[in-house]
C-alpha cells in the first residue's frame, strides 16, 4: 500500500497553497529570529527541556491559544460558506475537511490543552506543593500533545485532511469510502495525544492524593483542585477506550482487519459505541475543571466561601460516575430496542440533577455577596444563563423519542456549542484573566478585557441562537450548502455575522495579551484579587520552588483565613532550608519527536519505516530507565534573596485592583 509521491503535498487549492507558503515563511522567520537574537540556549534550557509544572502549564496554554486560532479559522470558513444559499466559496470535500478538523482541534487541541495547562499551573500551587508527582512524565504528556497537534495540523498541507467528521463514523471513515490517508491522520495523531492525556490523568491523581500540604484534607481542597482530581479519574477511566478504538480503526484502515467494515462480519456501529464510550466522558473531562475554576472565581469575587461545598463535591463525584453510563444517547437513532433507549434516556436526564445542584450553588454563593465585576467575574456571570440554555436543550435531546426529530440537525449543533462555549471557553477565559498575574506578574488589561468579553458573548449568541431555530426548521448539520427555497438564508446570514463578532472578540484577547505584555503595571503584589486559595500566598510570577516553606492549612479557603487572622508571618532566616528540585531533561521532547516521526510514517502506511522509527521510542524509554539523576538543590542564600525581593515592600505602593 502507501501513497504516491505526487500526492504527498496537497495541491490545487489557492487557500491551502497560501497557507503552505505562510507556514514555510513563518517557520523560516522563527528559526532566523531565534538564531539572530541568540535565544536557542534560553529556549532549550528554560522551556523545551523544563519539568517545571508552571512552565509546562504555560506551554500548554500557548498551544491551546494557537490551536484556537486554527480551529476558529475553520469555523469562520464554514460560516462564510453557509452565509448565503448555493455559495461556492468551499466545495463539498473542502467543507467536509473543515468541519472535521474544526471539531477535532477545538475539543482535543484547544479545550484539553487550555484546561490541562491551567490545571498544571494552578493545582500544585493550590495544594501547597512544589511540583506534580512525576515532573518528567508531565513534560512527556505535554510533548506528546504538542507532537500530536503538529502531526494533525500537517494533514492539510501534506497528504490531505481527514473528512469524516470529528466522530469519524464507519463505514464513511473506512478504507472503502475514504481511500485517502486523511483519516489516518485522525487515527494516529489522536492516539499520540490520548497517550499524553492519560499520563496527565495518572499524574494528577497521584499529585492530589499524595502531595497536599500539611492540614489540607480532601474536604479542604479548593474546588478547582477537586474537579481536576475527578477529571483525572474520568481520564483514566475513559481514554484507554479511545486508545483501543483508534487502534482498531488503524487496523481496519491500514492492515485490512474487519472490526468496523461491513464485509467480513464487522459492525460499523461498534465504532460509534466505542467512540461515545470515550466521547461522552470526554465532555465531562473538559467541563468539570471549568466548573472548578468558576467555583473559585465566583467565591473570590463574591467575597464569600463557596455555598454548598459538600454538595458540590458529591455532585462532581456523581457526575463522574454517571458520565460513564450515558453514551448511547449519541446514537438513539441507531435502531435500538426500547429498553436500551429508555435506560440511556433516564441516565442522561439524571445527570442534569447534580449539574443543577451546582448551578444553584453558584447562584447562592453570589447571593448577598459584595460582587466585584472584574473581567474574570463577568465570564463567570455570563456562564450561568448561557450554559443553562445548553443544559436545558440537552434535556430535550435526552428524550429518545424526541431525539429522532432533533438528531443531526443544527439544533444539536447549537446545543453542544451552548454547552461547550459557555461551559468550557468562558471559564477558560475567566481562568486566564484570573491566573494571568500569577503566571506573569502583570494583569491583563481590564478595559480591553471588557471589549473581549462583550464582543465574544454577543457574537457567540448571535452565531448559535439562530441555529436552534434553523435546526427545528429542518436544517441538517454538515451540509455544505442549501437552496434558497429552504428559507434558511436570513438566519444563516445572521449566524455568519455573529461569527465575525465572535472572531473580533478573540482578536481583542490577542491584542490584550500583546498590550498587557508591553504596558501593564508590574507592581501588583502577590494577591491582586484579594483571593482565597494558597496560590496567592506566594510571589507573582511564582518562583521556581513555589513555596519557601510549605504552608500549613487549617480551613477551607486557607489563604483567606491566614489573611483574616494575621497568620501571614514574614519568613525568618532560620526557617529557610535547601529545596530539592528535579533536573531538566531532553527525553520528553525527544519522545515527542520520535512519536511524531513514527506516527507520520504510519499515517502514510509505510509500516516498516514506522516500525523502525518506533524503535526510537524504546531507546528513549531505556535512557529514562538508566537515568539516575537525583535533581538539584536550591541554596539557602538564593532562597533568602528571592524571598526578600518579593516580600520587601509587602503590598506597599500596590493599587487596589478589585475596586
Amino acid at each position: 500500500m502507501g501513497i504516491k509521491w505526487d500526492e504527498f503535498f496537497v495541491t490545487g487549492d489557492p487557500l491551502i497553497f497560501a497557507s503552505q507558503i505562510g507556514i514555510a515563511l513563518s517557520l523560516v522567520g522563527a528559526i532566523a529570529g531565534i538564531t539572530y537574537f541568540k535565544k536557542w540556549n534560553y529556549l532549550w534550557t528554560e522551556w523545551l527541556t523544563t519539568v517545571d509544572h508552571k512552565k509546562i502549564g504555560i506551554m500548554y496554554i500557548l498551544l491551546g491559544v494557537v490551536m484556537f486560532f486554527r480551529g476558529g479559522v475553520d469555523g469562520l470558513m464554514m460560516k462564510s460558506q453557509t452565509a448565503v444559499p448555493e455559495n461556492e466559496f468551499l466545495n463539498a470535500q473542502h467543507y467536509n475537511e473543515v468541519f472535521t478538523t474544526h471539531g477535532v482541534i477545538m475539543i482535543l487541541f484547544v479545550a484539553m490543552p487550555l484546561l490541562i495547562g491551567l490545571m498544571n499551573f494552578a493545582v500544585p500551587l493550590q495544594i501547597g506543593a512544589r511540583d506534580v508527582a512525576f515532573p518528567q512524565l508531565n513534560a512527556l504528556s505535554f510533548w506528546l500533545t504538542a507532537s500530536a497537534a503538529a502531526l494533525f495540523n500537517l494533514s492539510f498541507i501534506i497528504g490531505g485532511s481527514p473528512d469524516a467528521g470529528w466522530t469519524s463514523y464507519f463505514p464513511l471513515a473506512g478504507k472503502e469510502f475514504s481511500p485517502g490517508i486523511g483519516n489516518n491522520f485522525y487515527a494516529v495523531a489522536l492516539q499520540i495525544a490520548g497517550a499524553g492525556t492519560l499520563m496527565t490523568g495518572i499524574n494528577f491523581i497521584v499529585t492530589v492524593l499524595k502531595m497536599r500540604t500539611k492540614g489540607m484534607t480532601l474536604m479542604k481542597m479548593p474546588m478547582f483542585t477537586w474537579t481536576s482530581f475527578i477529571t483525572s479519574i474520568i481520564i483514566v477511566a475513559s481514554f484507554p477506550i479511545f486508545t483501543v478504538a483508534l487502534a482498531l480503526m488503524t487496523f481496519d484502515r491500514t492492515f485490512g482487519a474487519h472490526f468496523f467494515t461491513i464485509s467480513g462480519g464487522g459492525m460499523d456501529m461498534l465504532w460509534a459505541n466505542l467512540f461515545w464510550l470515550w466521547g461522552h466522558p470526554e465532555v465531562y473531562i473538559v467541563v468539570l475543571p471549568a466548573f472548578g475554576m468558576l467555583s473559585d472565581i465566583i467565591s473570590t469575587f463574591a467575597r464569600k466561601t463557596l455555598f454548598g461545598y459538600k454538595s458540590m463535591v458529591v455532585s462532581i463525584v456523581l457526575i463522574s460516575v454517571l458520565s460513564m453510563l450515558v453514551w448511547v444517547h449519541h446514537f438513539f437513532t441507531m435502531g435500538n430496542n426500547a429498553a436500551v433507549n429508555s435506560f440511556f434516556s433516564i441516565t442522561t436526564m439524571a445527570i442534569a440533577i447534580p449539574t443543577g445542584v451546582k448551578v444553584f450553588n453558584w447562584l447562592f454563593t453570589m447571593r448577598k455577596g459584595r460582587i466585584k465585576f472584574t473581567t474574570s467575574m463577568l465570564w463567570a456571570l455570563a456562564f450561568v444563563p448561557n450554559f443553562v440554555i445548553g443544559g436545558v436543550t440537552g434535556v430535550m435531546l435526552a428524550m429518545a423519542a424526541a431525539d429522532y426529530q432533533y438528531h443531526n440537525t443544527l439544533f444539536l449543533v447549537a446545543h453542544f456549542h451552548y454547552v461547550l462555549i459557555p461551559g468550557v471557553v468562558f471559564p477558560i477565559f475567566a481562568g486566564l484573566y484570573y491566573w494571568w498575574p500569577k503566571m506573569f506578574g502583570y494583569m491583563l488589561n481590564e478595559k480591553i478585557g471588557k471589549w473581549h468579553f462583550w464582543l465574544f458573548v454577543i457574537g457567540f449568541n448571535v452565531t448559535f441562537m439562530p441555529m436552534f431555530f434553523l435546526g427545528l426548521d429542518g436544517a441538517v448539520r454538515r451540509a455544505y450548502t442549501y437552496s434558497a427555497e429552504t428559507g434558511f438564508g436570513p438566519l444563516m446570514l445572521l449566524s455568519a455575522v455573529g461569527s465575525i463578532i465572535l472572531a473580533a472578540g478573540f482578536a481583542a484577547l490577542v491584542y490584550n495579551i500583546y498590550w498587557s505584555a508591553r504596558h501593564a503595571d508590574r507592581n501588583i503584589g502577590n494577591d491582586p484579587w484579594d483571593a482565597r486559595t494558597l496560590e496567592w500566598a506566594t510571589a507573582s510570577p511564582v518562583q521556581q520552588y513555589n513555596f519557601a516553606s510549605l504552608p500549613e492549612v487549617t480551613k477551607l479557603d486557607a489563604f483567606w483565613h491566614m489573611k483574616k487572622n494575621n497568620e501571614l508571618q514574614p519568613l525568618s532566616e532560620d526557617e529557610v532550608e535547601e529545596i530539592h528540585l528535579p533536573s531538566n531533561t531532553w527525553i520528553p521532547i525527544y519522545m515527542g519527536a520520535v512519536f511524531g516521526i513514527s506516527g507520520f510514517l504510519l499515517v502514510f502506511e509505510w509500516t516498516i519505516a514506522a516500525g523502525i522509527a518506533a524503535l526510537g521510542i524504546f531507546v528513549g524509554l531505556a535512557f529514562r530507565s538508566f537515568d539516575y539523576d537525583e535533581g538539584f538543590h536550591v541554596h539557602k542564600d538564593e532562597i533568602s534573596e528571592t524571598e526578600r525581593k518579593w516580600r520587601k515592600g509587602g503590598n506597599k505602593g500596590v493599587k487596589n485592583h478589585v475596586s
Binding site: V206, I241, V244, L248, F251, G265, S625
Partner: protein, 201 residues
C-alpha cells in the same frame, strides 16, 4: 521530592517518591483494566461473526492452551518469590527467580507465536473475519505486553547488577512485579472467556 528515608518499611516503600511511583503504577493498572475490558467487549460483540471463516472450535487446541496457562501462572508465582527474596535482601535469590520468571514468560511467548503461525497456516488471519480480527488484537495486545515486560525486566536486571539493591532498584522491580502479576490476571480472563468459552460453544 522528599528524600527522607523511612527505614522501617520495605526498601521499595522507603521514600515518598517511591510510594508515589507505586501508587501511580496502580492507577496505570486501572487504565490497563479499562483497555483490556474494551478489547474483551469488542471480542464479546464480534466473537460469533465468523464470516464463513474458521470458528473457535476449529482452531483452539486444549493441550497447548493449558500449557501456556501453566507457564504463565508459574511465572507469576516465581515473580512473587523474587519479590519475597528481595524483601529478605537476598539479591542473588531475587535475580535467580526473576530470571526463571523471564524464561517462563519467554516459553509462553514462544507457544503463543507458534499458535499464531499455525492459525495463519490454516488460513485464519486478522483479515479473515471480525472474530479473528478481535481475537488477534486481544491476544496480540496481551502478547505485546509480555514482550515489553521481558525487555523491561532485562533492563532492571542490568541495573540491579550495576547498583545492587537500593530503594530505587527495589521500587522498580516491585513495580515490574505488579505488571507481571497483572498480565497473569488478564491471561486468566482470556483463558476463561476466549478459550474455554470458545471450546464450550
Amino acid at each position: 521530592m522528599s528524600a527522607k528515608v523511612n527505614a522501617a518499611l520495605p526498601l521499595e516503600y522507603q521514600t515518598e517518591q517511591n510510594r508515589m511511583n507505586i501508587l501511580g503504577f496502580w492507577i496505570f493498572l486501572g487504565a490497563e483494566i479499562v483497555l483490556f475490558a474494551t478489547l474483551f467487549g469488542v471480542y464479546g460483540v464480534l466473537s460469533e461473526r465468523h464470516a464463513g471463516g474458521p470458528g473457535q472450535s476449529d482452531l483452539f487446541i486444549v493441550k497447548d492452551v493449558l500449557i501456556q496457562t501453566f507457564l504463565l501462572l508459574t511465572s507469576s508465582f516465581t515473580m512473587g518469590i523474587s519479590i519475597f527474596e528481595m524483601r529478605r535482601s537476598n539479591k542473588k535469590g531475587m535475580l535467580m527467580w526473576l530470571v526463571f520468571t523471564l524464561l517462563l514468560g519467554g516459553g509462553f511467548l514462544f507457544m503463543e507465536i507458534r499458535e499464531f503461525i499455525n492459525y495463519v497456516h490454516e488460513g485464519a488471519t486478522m483479515q479473515t473475519s471480525a472474530f479473528l480480527s478481535s481475537f488477534f488484537v486481544l491476544l496480540g495486545t496481551h502478547g505485546l505486553h509480555v514482550t515489553i515486560g521481558i525487555g523491561w525486566a532485562i533492563l532492571l536486571i542490568i541495573q540491579m547488577l550495576q547498583r545492587g539493591l537500593t530503594p530505587v532498584t527495589a521500587r522498580k522491580t516491585f513495580i515490574f512485579g505488579l505488571y507481571w502479576h497483572f498480565l497473569d490476571v488478564v491471561w486468566i480472563f482470556i483463558f476463561t472467556f476466549v478459550y474455554l468459552r470458545g471450546l464450550v460453544m
